[in-house]
């Protein structure tokens, strides 16, 4: 253990940083895209089935295959990996945001509109706030997926903790495999914990469980 840190400590920090970078950038992009799209879908319900269906199909592409598909399009490195991880992050956020928004009491929406809120005010001040817990659980789910799958990004040269794991597999060295996997697990747990705190803060006081 100690000898593992002595020889690989510096590299480990670099890989952890790359891993965080890959996961968080793709998760962030996922949120930036999926939340507004879901809001849009609540205003165009006819499209909702199609778009969510499309995201589900993307989700079912095996992750290795998706990564491999990225190479002819974007080459290798962190960019194609981020694109692939971003695609994976979409579905849970999209679906949960849509469900959360749809579950807001229609009489509340009617009142918001009826007393003179603009569409944007209704979305920002009412709908997203009331749907926050459901949206956040979608984001937490995506975060876990993305952190786990970011290990595969090493396969297309994006770096991250996957490098240790793949090296370990190639060299039959279990210390490298564990040295890569355990930080991934810890990273996922810490992220989920922090997102849980954020979820708590974003959930309006009166509807906290």
């Amino acid at each position: 253990m100690i000898s593992f840190f002595q020889t690989n400590g510096a590299e480990l920090l670099v890989k952890i940083w790359q891993h965080i970078y890959l996961s968080f950038v793709s998760l962030g992009l996922g949120i930036i895209v999926a939340v507004p799209v879901a809001v849009g879908l609540t205003r165009a319900k006819k499209l909702a089935g199609f778009v969510i269906g499309l995201a589900s199909v993307l989700q079912t592409i095996p992750s290795m295959a998706l990564l491999a598909l990225m190479i002819p399009i974007f080459g290798i490195g962190s960019f194609p990996a981020i694109v692939a991880l971003f695609i994976y992050s979409l579905l849970p956020i999209l679906r949960n945001t849509y469900i959360g928004l749809n579950n807001v009491d229609p009489s509340v929406l009617d009142a918001a509109k009826g007393i003179g809120m603009s569409n944007m005010q209704s979305i920002m001040q009412v709908e997203l706030k009331l749907a926050a817990p459901v949206i956040m659980s979608g984001i937490r789910l995506s975060a876990t997926f993305v952190i786990a799958w970011a290990t595969l990004a090493s396969y297309i040269g994006a770096g991250g903790l996957g490098d240790f794991i793949f090296n370990g597999l190639n060299l039959y060295r279990s210390d490298l495999i564990l040295g890569g996997s355990i930080p991934v697990i810890i990273l996922a747990l810490i992220t989920d914990y922090i997102l849980g705190k954020i979820e708590y803060l974003l959930t309006p006081k009166s509807i906290r469980a």
Partner: protein
């Protein structure tokens, strides 16, 4: 004209006509009640006024201005709206809820805080409630908040869609008092949808009766009761209410005794006793020289003060309960019965004594009302018998 609906029509896809052709003119300060069967188009009319729905054809004019040319968001901020399901924001405190429109209108924080306190008082709820969430209030309390929210930005026109549905009768009545007070004291104009005929008759200055997208009758509650336009209206009002209504729309002037026993206030006490003795009564109404009602004097007081040399005006009780000759009998009946008055003087607009309602008069009235109802009942049994005979 504050609000005009001109030939409003709403068709839903598939040629489903929700509202056929509604024309209605509403003056400031009116209380208009829409009533009708379920699905008759009441909500649809209401929602076309604040453009929650676009009419298929026809126009809504507010102060002569065509609302289809206005920004719907701005329009809605000027019209108070109480939706059927209250619709309080669950994630906002009561304070935030009732000052939502002022906030949208960018009022200053102080002005909003002052408004919140004013409104919570109006709702007759304690100020501590301002920092609670809707889920921490009872259904009736929430409904009160929903009602006062519609007044937050001093809206002059208030739209209400069955605001007091699903409330117990006592809460309901106190909320009816609240809106009636707002209409009468602040001169607000109400467009009010209800299922409850008693509520409509009680609150409305104008009742609009609807059936299947058409207006059946637009009239004052009195006229609706006196002259229902057609069979639908008659059925909607209900036979029972029409009978009950007979005394209720009669003005006091019609049933009072027109020769009350009275005395002017400058008369001496012996003259008063003389008058009582001659007319065989134990109290006398007291007026001034112009016959304006001033008070009442009874035999006990007269007896105590008989030798004092005072005038009737000196010893009379000036706190006398009276009714106006054009007020409605139903109220008078209730007051006389509830407060235990033996009789009540009736005055005209100038407060001049014109008559008196005695308990005996009321007995006659109640007797007549019940007796005529009995007659109706007898008629029906006779018809029943005839039918039975035919079957034989």
């Amino acid at each position: 004209m504050l609000l005009s609906l001109e030939h409003l029509r709403k068709e839903y896809p598939g040629h489903k006509v929700a509202v056929n052709d509604v024309t209605l003119h509403i003056e400031a300060g009116e209380f208009v009640c829409f009533i009708g069967t379920s699905g008759s188009g009441k909500t649809t009319v209401l929602r076309m006024i604040n453009r929650m729905l676009m009419p298929t054809s026809g126009t809504v004019l507010i102060n002569g201005e065509d609302t289809s040319k206005l920004d719907p968001v701005k329009l809605r901020r000027k019209l108070g709206y109480v939706i059927q399901n209250i619709g309080l924001m669950p994630h906002m405190t009561i304070r935030e809820n009732i000052t939502l429109v002022p906030k949208l209108l960018k009022w200053s924080q102080e002005k909003r805080d002052a408004k919140a306190i004013e409104l919570i008082k109006l709702a007759q709820l304690p100020e501590e409630f301002l920092d609670r969430y809707p889920s921490e209030l009872s259904g009736g309390q929430q409904q009160r908040i929903g009602v006062v929210r519609a007044f937050a930005a001093d809206q002059d026109i208030i739209l209400m869609d069955e605001p007091f549905g699903a409330l117990d009768p006592i809460t309901r009545e106190s909320l009816q008092d609240l809106v009636q007070d707002l209409q009468q004291r602040l001169g607000k104009t109400f467009i009010f949808v209800t299922h409850d005929m008693d509520e409509a008759l009680r609150l409305a200055t104008k009742v609009v009766i609807m059936d299947a997208g058409d207006v059946m009758q637009i009239d004052s509650p009195e006229n609706i009761l006196k002259h229902p336009a057609n069979e639908f209206v008659t059925n909607l009002i209900g036979e029972e209410r029409l009978i009950q209504a007979r005394p209720s729309v009669t003005p006091v002037g019609q049933i009072m005794l027109k020769s009350p026993i009275y005395i002017t206030q400058d008369q001496s006490l012996p003259t008063a006793l003389e008058t009582m003795h001659k007319s065989r009564v134990d109290t006398l109404l007291v007026t001034d020289a112009n016959r304006v009602l001033r008070g009442v004097v009874d035999i006990e007081t007269l007896n105590d003060e008989f030798n004092s040399g005072k005038t009737v005006g000196d010893i009379m009780d000036d706190k006398v309960f009276y009714v106006f000759e054009n007020s409605v009998v139903r109220d008078t009946v209730n007051r006389i019965l509830k407060m235990g008055y033996k009789n009540v003087p009736v005055v005209n607009k100038e407060y001049q004594l014109v008559g008196i309602v005695t308990r005996a008069t009321l007995v006659d009235m109640v007797y007549n009302a019940l007796w005529s109802q009995d007659e109706d009942a007898n008629d029906q049994t006779q018809i029943g018998n005839k039918e039975a005979n035919v079957d034989d």
